[in-house]
């Protein structure tokens, strides 16, 4: 992985009337355009020569976003993606062909867009967003995210919010975020520190179905329970030294076979290959048309933000394509206690009789926090640490202890977790 150096693009070949369509929006203001907008050459030059934007993700949304940006005249586009191309991408990721399967998405997408839209510069990075320092993100005018991971979005959002320096206006980088699922999707404009941020709306996400271990182990009822049994309990038991790779068809085959056997034992119907794969990979249905709508919405907003030729989306567009063409545009409000962009401490009401373990469970269940396997400390003293193993062992006895014996009412707990791109402060309120 790393920056891939591509041959330097030729001097931008262009041609008369190339931007005849887009120019209609940049030559003249419309009735809703900000009075400060000045149509003409300056705004076009800024867009086509000076602008620099970052696209995160070169998958379903990313392919569309890159294409749109290139056609709209964005000059300098960077794209980050850590994935390689899979055959199941080809029903929507239209910059890839069967011969590209296995190659890095970012690189293939960049090459394709540059060959089809001459003069566009697309710089790919095949790797993780976390590899890049703040100074890297500082070079862009805005960031567009076309991701399928909540964790990556949270990281990007927290990074961009933390970068805001009130004395340096350019430090505020708009983040435009898109997401889809089947016929549904959403696009939003986040102005870090000004509008609601990604973390503010965490509780809007659908709660992921989590099957209790005891159901999986003892009382399976659904085919999903049998599949979870095979992947969560049986695989580590049979292959203690081999990590389950959900992209490996041999592994899926093994899970499918064992889940089927268990299902038959318990007279449960419905274990199929497709369901097995869907459950273990947490597959979300995805189609080209929905990605097109959401990516285009993101890029329309990027274009408006860069040129000021029309007012921006404030701040959330939600599409529900399952019943007619239905969408809803609204202003999502900031959360004063947002751990990323708000200032207020989050209160956590708990019962005195609760054990520390019960508190951790309650914390993991909170939809507005979504901390997986959190570690806790209070006033610099560790209450429970998930890692390293020796500290985990040392703090484990605390799990059984009652909260009333560990903390005082109003104490502020520091919570860290792999899924949290920041340290969270929680005020415990002890109740009877």
């Amino acid at each position: 992985m790393g920056d891939i150096s591509l041959p330097a693009p030729l001097p931008p070949p262009t041609w008369p009337n190339r931007f005849q369509h887009v120019d209609t929006l940049l030559d003249h203001p419309g009735p809703s355009t900000d009075p400060d907008f000045v149509g003409g050459e300056a705004v076009k030059r800024f867009l086509r020569e000076d602008s620099k934007v970052l696209v995160i993700g070169a998958g379903g949304l990313g392919c569309e976003i890159l294409t749109n940006l290139a056609l709209m005249g964005f000059a300098d586009i960077h794209v980050i993606d850590m994935d390689t191309i899979d055959i199941s991408n080809l029903n929507r990721q239209f910059l890839f062909r069967p011969k590209d399967v296995g190659k890095p998405k970012a690189i293939i997408a960049a090459e394709f867009v540059m060959s089809r839209v001459p003069g566009t510069k697309v710089t790919p990075y095949f790797g993780k967003i976390q590899d890049k320092p703040e100074s890297y993100y500082m070079q862009f005018n805005l960031v567009i995210c076309g991701l399928d991971s909540v964790e990556a979005r949270r990281w990007m959002n927290a990074t961009l919010v933390a970068m805001v320096d009130p004395d340096v206006p350019e430090s505020l980088k708009p983040m435009i975020d898109g997401g889809t699922e089947g016929f549904k999707g959403q696009a939003r404009v986040i102005l870090p520190s000004i509008t609601s941020c990604y973390e503010c709306s965490l509780d809007m996400l659908n709660k992921q179905t989590v099957f209790p271990i005891c159901t999986i182990a003892n009382t399976p009822r659904l085919p999903e329970h049998c599949i979870e049994w095979a992947s969560v309990l049986e695989w580590p038991k049979v292959f203690p030294d081999k990590k389950l790779d959900t992209d490996d068809p041999e592994h899926i085959q093994w899970l499918f076979t064992h889940a089927s056997t268990r299902a038959r034992e318990f007279k449960i119907e419905g274990v199929t290959w497709s369901l097995t794969q869907g459950v273990v990979k947490n597959i979300i249905p995805a189609i080209a048309s929905t990605n097109a709508v959401i990516a285009a919405s993101c890029c329309t907003e990027a274009f408006k933000l860069m040129t000021n030729c029309a007012p921006r989306l404030d701040n959330y567009f939600m599409l529900i394509g399952t019943e007619g063409v239905y969408s809803y545009t609204f202003q999502h409000e900031r959360r004063p206690e947002c751990p990323v962009c708000g200032g207020e401490t989050i209160d956590m009401p708990v019962k005195k009789e609760w054990t520390l373990e019960r508190l951790i469970e309650a914390l993991e269940e909170r939809q507005d926090i979504q901390a997986k396997k959190p570690s806790l400390s209070v006033n610099g003293r560790s209450l429970y640490l998930q890692a390293p193993p020796q500290l985990e062992r040392a703090t484990r006895p605390n799990l059984e202890k009652k909260l009333v014996d560990l903390v005082n009412d109003g104490d502020e707990l520091t919570v860290t977790a792999g899924s949290l791109p920041f340290n969270l402060t929680l005020r415990v309120l002890l109740k009877d």
Binding site: G30, P31, N68, R221, S289, A292
Partner: protein, 560 residues
Amino acid sequence: MAQTAEAKTIEEATVTIVSPQGRPDEKTRRYDRQLRLWASSGQAALESARILVISGGATSTSTLKNLVLPGIGEFTILDHLPVTYADAGNNFFLHVNGIGKSRAEEAVSHLAELNDSVKGKADTRDVNAVLENEPEFFLSFTLIIAVNLSPEIEDRLAQALRSGASTPRDTVPLMIVRTAGFYAMIGTQIGEHTVVDAHSETPPSLRLDNAFPALLEYARAIDLDSLDSTDFGHVPWVVLLVKALENWKQKHDGQLPKSYAEKQELKKSLEKMRRRGDEENFDEAVAQAYRMWTPTVVPSETRALLSDPSVTTITSSSPSIFYFLLALSHFVQQHSYLPLVPTLPDMHTTTDTYVELQNLFRAQADREMLVFEDCLKRAVEEVHETWEERESLGLGRAEVKEFIRNAAGVRVFKGKKWGSVEPSEIEASDQKPVTALQNELESGMLPAPAAVYLAFLCSADFYSAHARQPQPTEADNQLLTTYATQRLANGGWNGELPETVTTALGEIARAQGSDIPTTAALTGGLVAQEAIKFLTRQYVPIEGTCIVDLIRSTTGTLPF
């Protein structure tokens, strides 16, 4: 290929024995993410579709991209124009190397690359000439998408499809698309359209307000007091609700609770059945308590559909769905509910109990399916077909089960005409947007599509009169204002043009009929979504005209 059992690895041997469905083939893997939405039945419908797109502009190719990728059967682009410099600038499926060549041919070759299993054809004739000389050409397609044509051609095309259809049911669906700057409009002309699977997110009713006899029997046989605490904690919530409700009914002349207070009282009596207070099965039961007092009914939309003449007066040539609906109307005359769908949600209980309960529901569903089949037999005989022919009529057992599973979501759209109206209807046709505009101004909420819709109409008026797009000049704005005033007056509007209308007119003039890549992509996505719904007969398609307003980042649908 002969192979001894010994020659197989243990894994292979297990697989052959264990799995009825093996690993997916390459096609299934490629389409995996969409098959999870519309399944193989939807995919088959797409693969047999023949789609015509008229003009090879940016919105056209953006739409087609989203249909070629999921694998429609074939597409044709009808366009007599050459690629211009502007086309090479706004269209991803045209290249500057192709300037001067046929736009249809260039676009088809770039689109066909996306999916080897889709056939693409370029037709370089002028749509005008085809309408003139060979109007039957259009009748050979499954769906037609007309993008940024003149209103006159749109009307002639719509007319050709109407007059070419032997029955309204056979009318080739037409989608009319116009784009201008940040605005787009999507209209339709469809004949009768049936949705066979709406993919409703409402789970099927378990009919707990009036448990079927076997379930009631089963619940009665469980004596809660005699259970040890483990078993007590594993009594499924379905059983708890049936028991709680039966107690209630015994004390209330068999009546369901009606008032809020009564419902709370019943809920409390359910809570009182707990032993410890933290039993998980009771938590679930309390959360599902509403099922006890929600009366099982035939949904009003289904009821309305069943009394529709298309259902009550079916003929032997009616599609199978109408036989099913007629049978359903017979069924609901005897029962006040739809046939049971045996989908049991997960619940806290043991495997054995869950499987037992599931079997109860399945057995009941099977009984009701047989009753439904009797009704179906009656329906078949009413149109003088014989029951023995059921398979060839598409009414086999598998289809019956499929219908029952989706029955609550079946919809029949009566269809909608597009286009020019008789002179005597002009006032009526302008009245609809005026009414919509009045509603918008009163509510003051977004989206506000009527003003943009009106701007599209006025832009078309302008084009008809001047054979060019309006420009952002004082003079053209004035003309647009005149057309708008005229249309509003026709529709009964008194007074000044509202600001929303002048704003929309200003934007339309600014746009000069431009096809912006992002607007094209967004519109192409929406059009493709609707096309997929029309073709698969799954999910609920648009009824009316959709307006995309990317100035305000909204979409809105007008009911006409």
